[in-house]
Symmetry: C2
Subunit: 521 residues, 2 copies
């Protein structure tokens, strides 16, 4: 039986077949609002891929309008009544899934109603323009052109945080963080990051002192972009991304847009001399895409039970495919012969050991997305600290480039030559996302803990990867993570899947287990 | 001064600077509704170009939702009040442009309010699915799979016609036709088509009897699609399509989607052995695109004065570039050397006379869009007659293939081998468009009459085309047609631009003037 066939039936059993009319009416309303919201996802994707530049002002207007309409529906008195009626009805019945669904709908409703409509609209309008300005500023290395937009984004985030904060999330940053990683707190992140930093820094130092550095001549091999694109598509398909229900395009910053049932869109980026980087991005976005495609969206479109548990969990799926699979000897035991055939003779003299060494080079890099698995997390800590300082008013936007460059120098020992390679490199702030970056490192930690568990439960995992057989791995992830949507919180999901709460131990064990032998430590 | 710079200032002078608050409020409402409607245009374009197949049901839901929201706004009591207030205010002031704008807003409002909301929604939902089913049915040559969808489309069109018909448009078909070509009547089309048919048939016969047929070996020259795409883009840009504010992609059936200010999207289709056909499609869609880009949309988004006068006028713009320019010796005097350079050595031994002969071959063709300028209009007459019969219930959908094939045999003397080459070839019916086809032949007639006028006013036209200089031609069209939007009706525009009402005379004079020498008649 193909596991695609399994997907449709996976998840929530009878899909609330016992539910009464009030709950059914609420679900219908959620579905319709999601249809509207998913239109916003399509035009958001279009903006990053195919939209002509002169359409930017119109797109800002369109995006603002959709956001406004969605927000209006999510906060309407009609919706409040539907929700209250459904809660009353289900409380009497007591179906566990319906209760979980309603708990999350209630959470979303409380959040939405705290958001003034004017802020929703301003957010959509400003960030559409800010993304456009960011793209130009990055191209021209012109931080001054982006600075006023970043100022507006921060101001909007302050308004957002003021609107959202509660007794549990009293700090401005707490309120923002909670919107991406429900239940996570700034203090907890600081605790985890401090622990992680304390163990990463000595490892990175030891590697630097080892005097060893795997060769990277293979990262200079030139392969035509059209050929790379065909191969990336093939790998994405092989690991389980369904192209009948999705696409793979190119954009400045790779992303995954889960539009809705039957429509999940990935992007990556190619350079002739960066075959391994492009594939890495594709594996990453495919990990997100496989999660999106295996959430029970057809049955439960618009309902929390068909949505990702958190950004950290989402990121764990992308990191797992990008790093735990994509930087392993076993995976390249399958992928390298495939690539050799397609790109012959470009990779003819390349060995699996050589690829493994290159992909696990630990070397400070100015660019976050090009960084190795060890130093990557220092990039996240930098952004986490600087965005908190910007938000709290402890750092002026004008001083950001200096603060950025100083921190890169002290953490990584390298100089930032220009802002393109520094504080203009990421799209996130221009999209309005403050409080989002830490979820990347949480994703690494979740991925490591999931990997540890699944590797112990799938004894032939290495042989399967070596054979290009990803079905059991994918099935495990669907079983433990994908199918549940927001039925459980991220910490609960983690504990159910791995038997213990999240710690940095599996990540450090994985990293040390891989890097110590490679660097003779 | 570049004529792009002119565009911004072109058109409607002070853009109603004297207008009062009620008129201003109405314009703001029109603009916002158009922003919503333009989102529908983006997702419609996406559906034909990049959408994954499994997204079809979701897309049907999205399209229906946007149509519904737009319809609700256009028919709301709030809108009725805004319109009435603006009419009262402007009637007192008396600005001519505002009066014309309001006349057309009123016309649209009356039409919209006749459309029940349920019909709008059904239309969007059924046609989204019907287009999907049509694509599959055409691929598999499976008319039976499409037949139930065509039945639903016809039934919906009956409901539409019943809803729209008035004293001036008493017939079902009249009501549909008037929605595409305001003011045109079925009886008038029959009169024009009968006249045209009576003059075309002898010309086509004489050509067939002449024993001459220009060689078409150049239509078999193979040119890689990527190279063709680059050349098509270059030509579209040269004739005046602005790629900062638009795109050129590929789709099964080429089209132009004017999304809104700064966003006009064309598609064409390529085959390695059909360079001339692809360029012809590109010129056609670019003609539509240039019209869309030069309507005063930035200043008047959503207002009738920024919209195309009629489908017939729209088609006149595409036909003018496709045929009057694109099948002329003068144009190829410029384009052929350009193409030779790019495609060297593929076209090295091709001459302008050879291209001219090939592009003006008159030969019955099963496919409408591949037909020559003479027989093309017989294809339109066939569709016009059959869709009226379907609508009136005089022809059952099941009998369509036979009726189609019989008519092709009697009109063109050729046999239809399968429905892919017959009644499944066009996208229009699957899109819900009944009453649309005749506007194609009206477009040919308008184009001929405009061409006659502009050729007499631009004495060096041929030299300009020969030099690849399209500025004065494009400027004339903008001055006479593009900038006016719906300020004047199609017949008024025609008379203002050419000094006389529409007749078939200029078209027949153009055709005979070109074909008689070529075929030694």
């Amino acid at each position: 039986m193909s596991d695609t066939a399994t997907t449709a039936g996976v998840g929530n059993g009878s899909a609330d077949s016992n539910a009464g009319p009030a709950y059914t009416a609420l679900r219908q309303e959620l579905r319709e609002t999601e249809a509207l919201s998913s239109i916003g996802a399509v035009i958001g994707w279009d903006q990053e891929t195919y939209m002509p530049p002169a359409a930017t002002p119109l797109r800002a207007e369109q995006a603002a309008l959709i956001s406004q309409l969605v927000h209006d529906r999510r906060t309407s008195s009609r919706f409040a009544e539907l929700l209250a009626a459904a809660e009353e009805e289900v409380a009497a019945g007591g179906d566990e899934e319906a209760l979980a669904n309603l708990r999350e709908v209630r959470r979303d409703f409380e959040t939405s109603t705290k958001f003034p409509a004017s802020l929703v609209r301003d957010f959509a309008e400003v960030t559409t323009m800010a993304q456009f300005e960011w793209r130009g500023a990055r191209e021209r290395n012109d931080f001054a052109a982006f600075a006023p937009w970043l100022n507006r984004v921060i101001e909007l985030n302050r308004r957002k945080a003021e609107a959202l904060r509660t007794e549990e999330t009293p700090g401005l940053y707490d309120a923002l963080l909670d919107s991406y990683e429900p239940g996570m707190r700034t203090a907890e992140i600081i605790r985890i990051f401090t622990d992680l930093r304390g163990r990463l820094i000595p490892l990175i130092s030891a590697i630097a002192d080892s005097g060893r550095l795997p060769d990277n001549r293979i990262q200079k091999i030139r392969i035509p972009i059209a050929d790379q694109a065909a191969f990336n598509r093939r790998v994405a398909e092989r690991i389980g991304f369904d192209f009948q229900a999705g696409r793979l395009d190119t954009s400045t910053h790779p992303f995954c847009q889960g539009v809705g049932p039957g429509d999940t869109r990935l992007t990556t980026r190619y350079r002739e001399d960066s075959f391994f980087d492009a594939l890495s991005s594709t594996l990453h976005e495919s990990g997100h895409g496989i999660y999106e495609q295996r959430l029970p969206k057809s049955e439960r479109m618009g309902e929390p039970l068909s949505e990702a548990a958190s950004l950290g969990i989402h990121e764990s799926q992308s990191r797992l495919w990008e790093n735990f699979v994509g930087r392993s000897r076993a995976f390249w035991g399958w992928a390298l012969p495939e690539a050799k055939t397609v790109f012959s003779p470009s990779l003819n003299d390349v060995t699996v050991d050589e690829v493994y060494g290159t992909l696990n080079r630990v070397e400070p890099n100015l660019i976050r997305v090009d960084s190795d698995e060890a130093t990557y997390n220092l990039h996240i800590m930098l952004r986490f600290d600087l965005e908190r300082a910007l938000l709290e008013g402890d750092l002026a936007v004008a001083d950001l480039p200096t603060a950025w460059n100083d921190r890169i120098r002290s953490d990584l020992g390298i100089e930032v030559p220009d802002n393109r390679m520094g504080c203009l490199q990421d799209v996130h702030w221009s999209m309005g996302a403050i409080g989002y970056f830490p979820t990347y490192t949480l994703g690494n930690l979740y991925a490591a803990q999931l990997w540890e568990a699944l590797a112990s439960q799938i004894p032939t995992l290495d042989e399967q990867l070596q054979a290009g057989d990803f079905e059991e791995l994918r099935g495990w992830l669907t079983q433990k993570i994908h199918r549940w949507g927001r039925r459980f919180t991220a910490p609960e999901l983690c504990e159910r899947a791995t038997g213990k709460p999240l710690t940095a131990d599996p990540f450090m064990a994985y990293l040390e287990g891989k890097l110590r032998p490679l660097y003779g430590l």
